[in-house]
Amino acid sequence: MTDAAVPVTEQAVEQFVEDYLVSLGAEIRKEGNRWSVLLPDDAETTLELDDAVLEVAPDPDEVGQDAFAIAPESEFVERLIDEAAERTPVGSMMLTGDDLEVRLPPWIAEGPAEVSEHAFTPYYDRRALCALVHVGIETVSEYQTEELVSVAVDLNSNDERPRLAETYLELFEASLDRTLEEGGSLDETDLSESLEAAMSIAEREVSSTVREVRERATRAAEVDLDEYRQFVRQRREELDDDIRRLTRRIDDANDTIDDATDQQERVDALRKRKELRAERDDLRSEQEKLAAEIRDGFPEERREIRDRHSLTVRLQPVAVTTVTYERGDLDVSLRVDDASASRSYPYAVGIGIMENPACEQCGRELSGENAATISGESLVGTACCER
């Protein structure tokens, strides 16, 4: 899973606040830890920052009443991040060979071969949809689990582009000191199909987390059911006792009816017997209901437990970016000691060499574990064919 969450450190918070305020057109004057902020009148924000003073501090409580705290968990920072998080969820960008360094695959980087020369020749552009998907797993018996995953799919084929999903995250960091070019405009209908594909990938990415949460919820639900089972068993025993007690009292009433000399006494006993029988019938019917429940495996209780413990996994895209990236060939010259070889591979900016090549002697795929080396004039695997 490509986890997109970043630690909320003091430094990250400080940098973000500054970048966001600048994007609103703010003028910031810094004096030590205190910042004076001037916002233009038309700044699109609900933050009330006219002539405000901000103060950078490790702990919000250390900041006086006269200033807003720039600190993890400060109320001001949380409001600012909340606002920024919803501001511009959709965007587009262009990635060219000049934006990113050539990404060497593990089958070169982890082997003995050195790259003596390389050159990328772009032929055409491809477009992909990259997204940050928020996943919330809600359960009653456990804590809420939240994830943010990064996913990428090709806009034409909807094929997954996992390496681009990783690069996508790096771009946010890189953007601090580099200007990326904006991509072309977007078409909602074109995007929606790819977005749905991206969501399905995100669903698959969190499946192991969901499985673990579900296992825990199942164990908790089993405990609930077990407790109910014990309760039913106990209740049945109580009912048995109560029915036996009532039967004895009905027998006593029968005796009174048989032996009564006085009519009033007999009528009272008859009335009493009727009450007792009705009471016993109620208990028997409850007993039968419990027996049926046991026989059927507590369907109603199961339903209630199921309702109570059910998991809802909500997936929501919070940032969607169309990325236009260059496709072409990468010409690479490799050298191992005195031997050298040059090859050309299909390459995409942000993704790297599109497919792992095969060992030129035995055909086994080259990889980090079977990295490339040179034998004669051939590129072979260190694990399969190196002599």
């Binding site: 909340d82 990326l180 199942t218 199921r306 809802t312």
Partner: protein, 585 residues
């Protein structure tokens, strides 16, 4: 919709209107990247540094790496519900102190309830205050007005479960519950378990060095209180983790995985605790005739008075302790007994006889001998610093005078000083050297590693107190060997306690954790150490019976210690297997 027998999973894709209205629009890439970054920060872990650490007084508490890590994990990785199961002596109380300090700092702990075995309650109270500056009310305090009246309470678990308090304890929603020696709440059929099961709390920290006492069900019960459902049903747990035919654990990897969600166990060998050597020497001296007369007079009086009125136990116990400390200490109590005329002329006669015996003593033997011990000890150490402990202020006064007469720089430390004064006294002692004569008011937090020689002029009957005294100098940060001298008079209660009890079971070499385990076990059998010493003394009609009584008590203690060792070994074995051993699966 994926369906399972008991738990359904529903996936909901909520694209919402994220794309709506975006068609053909032009957006600022900078703004968009900021939105993505904001979402990444929102999803990120909040700052999880222990912020309160920088506010701790380093003089009062020295934190170790494993303790900081444990506190951090319990708070931030286990969501504030954790079983702290370090091996004995690694500072679980410190870990909880840090957790509570941090929660206090973050304002997440308005109401805290700490439940402990009875005899550890006050020790917890002192440690929380001295080391972490957190004030608790203890159920033994005069100001304690019940469980509804205070927000930070330390109480014995048996007080909390008593008919008098149970209802109020259960009526509250506690923010934090701490349960010390959690293994005593392992049995689900007891009132203690029932109380814990019904308590309402948001965060809970349970402490034990031995989560398993008899079998793995103990673990199931304790964990189920913390995280109901983590182990599923009792039956399911047994079937899955215990091989019934061989009575051994199976599926250990899975057990370890689930335990790691809720349990932290540090082992001694993994930490960097390194204590220097502790040398304990006991010197017993023959009593002078006058001292023997005094001792017998006091013991006779105590036996007689206790036989008549057991309500006087505390005073009588004090007399019995004072007689081996100093005649000066004894005199004060005897005189106030005489002033509290209880209308029993027989008692007055005996008390007056005691006063006569006191007057007959010229210089007490212990006082003479302590000079020599201090002189010897001083020759070995830098600046000649020696701490002499006594239980009584009158003895302290006399010792100070004697040492001053001999030309030593002297320092007095007792409960009557303010904390600033205490601070100053310790600083002067460090700078000037000489002899510091202290009562047991010298608390846990005092940093005295600069001194490595200690004399127990008299001995508390409770071994925990002896260990606390030694702990003032034999602690983390002490880099020299530590010398402890015990002084006792022959054929007195002190000699019995020392010889028959402490030495026989090697109490001087036990850690605080080991001792508290032994004493808590003893308490479980319904006994209190000091009371037991006293009862055995007054019950004996002859010398032989007295010896037998103390031998019997030593056997009991040894049994508790063996049991404690056995359980500890068993747990080490089981949990070592978790960490290092291969799975049996």
């Amino acid at each position: 919709m994926v369906s399972d027998d008991l738990v359904d999973v529903e996936f909901r894709h909520e694209e919402g209107d994220v794309l709506a209205g975006q068609s053909g629009g032009i957006y600022s890439l900078t703004d968009h990247l900021l939105t993505a970054r904001a979402n990444r920060l929102q999803a990120g872990q909040a700052d999880t540094e222990l912020r309160s650490l920088s506010h701790l007084d380093e003089e009062s508490v020295k934190l170790l790496e494993h303790q900081v890590t444990a506190a951090h994990r319990a708070l931030f990785e286990m969501d504030g519900k954790a079983l702290l199961a370090d091996e004995v002596g690694l500072g679980k109380t410190i870990e909880v102190g840090m957790i509570l300090k941090e929660m206090h700092y973050r304002d997440t702990s308005d109401s805290v309830l700490i439940l402990t075995p009875a005899q550890l309650a006050q020790q917890w109270q002192a440690e929380m205050l001295e080391k972490f500056g957190i004030e608790f009310v203890c159920n033994y305090d005069d100001e304690f007005e019940g469980f509804a009246a205070h927000d930070r309470i330390i109480a014995s678990i048996d007080t909390a479960k008593s008919d008098r308090h149970r209802k109020t304890v259960l009526a509250r929603d506690w923010d934090v519950l701490v349960l010390d020696e959690a293994h005593y709440v392992k049995n689900e059929d007891t009132d203690r378990y029932d109380l814990l099961d019904r308590l309402s709390y948001d965060y809970a920290f349970f402490l034990t060095a031995t989560p398993i006492q008899n079998d793995v069900t103990d673990l199931y019960n304790i964990i189920s209180l913390l995280r109901p459902g983590l182990f599923g049903t009792r039956e399911g747990f047994h079937n899955y983790f215990v091989n019934k035919s061989q009575e051994k654990l199976v599926n250990r990897n899975e057990l370890q995985k689930r335990l790691s969600e809720v349990m932290i166990r540090n082992r001694r060998e993994e930490t960097d605790i390194d204590f220097t050597k502790r040398n304990v020497t006991t010197r017993t001296f023959e009593q002078s005739t006058a001292e023997r007369d005094l001792y017998e007079a006091v013991t006779d009086y105590v036996r007689t008075a206790y036989g008549e009125d057991q309500g006087q136990k505390l005073v009588l116990m004090t007399l019995q302790k004072e007689v081996v400390s100093s005649p000066a200490a004894l005199e004060g109590t005897v005189r106030s007994q005489l002033d509290d005329d209880d209308g029993q002329p027989a008692h007055d006669t005996l008390l007056k006889q005691i006063l006569e015996c006191i007057e007959a003593i010229d210089t007490p033997t212990k006082q003479e001998r302590v000079q020599r011990i201090v002189r010897e000890a001083q020759e070995r150490v830098e600046k000649g610093r020696v701490i002499v402990f006594t239980q009584f202020r009158a003895t302290q006064q006399q010792l100070l005078e004697t040492f001053a007469d001999e030309g030593y720089a002297t320092h007095a430390f007792h409960g009557g000083h303010s904390s600033d004064e205490k601070e100053e006294i310790v600083e002067q002692f460090e700078e000037e050297g000489g002899v510091l004569v202290s009562t047991d008011a010298m608390n846990e937090g005092r940093n005295l590693q600069f001194c490595n020689v200690m004399v127990n002029f008299d001995l508390p009957w409770n071994p925990m107190k002896v260990e606390q005294r030694i702990g003032r100098i034999h602690r983390i940060g002490q880099d020299r060997e530590v010398y402890v001298f015990n002084i006792a008079l022959e054929d007195t209660i002190e000699e019995y306690v020392l010889d028959r009890l402490y030495h026989k079971i090697d109490l001087f070499n036990q850690s605080v954790g080991e001792l508290s385990e032994i004493l808590t076990r003893l308490e479980e059998t319904g006994r209190n150490f000091e009371d037991e010493v006293f009862e055995r003394l007054v019950d004996a009609d002859s010398e032989i019976e007295l010896e037998n009584n103390f031998d019997e008590m030593a056997v009991d203690l040894q049994e508790q210690r063996d049991l404690a060792d056995k359980v500890e070994d068993f747990n080490s074995g089981v949990f070592e297997g978790f960490d290092l051993g291969a799975s049996d699966d």
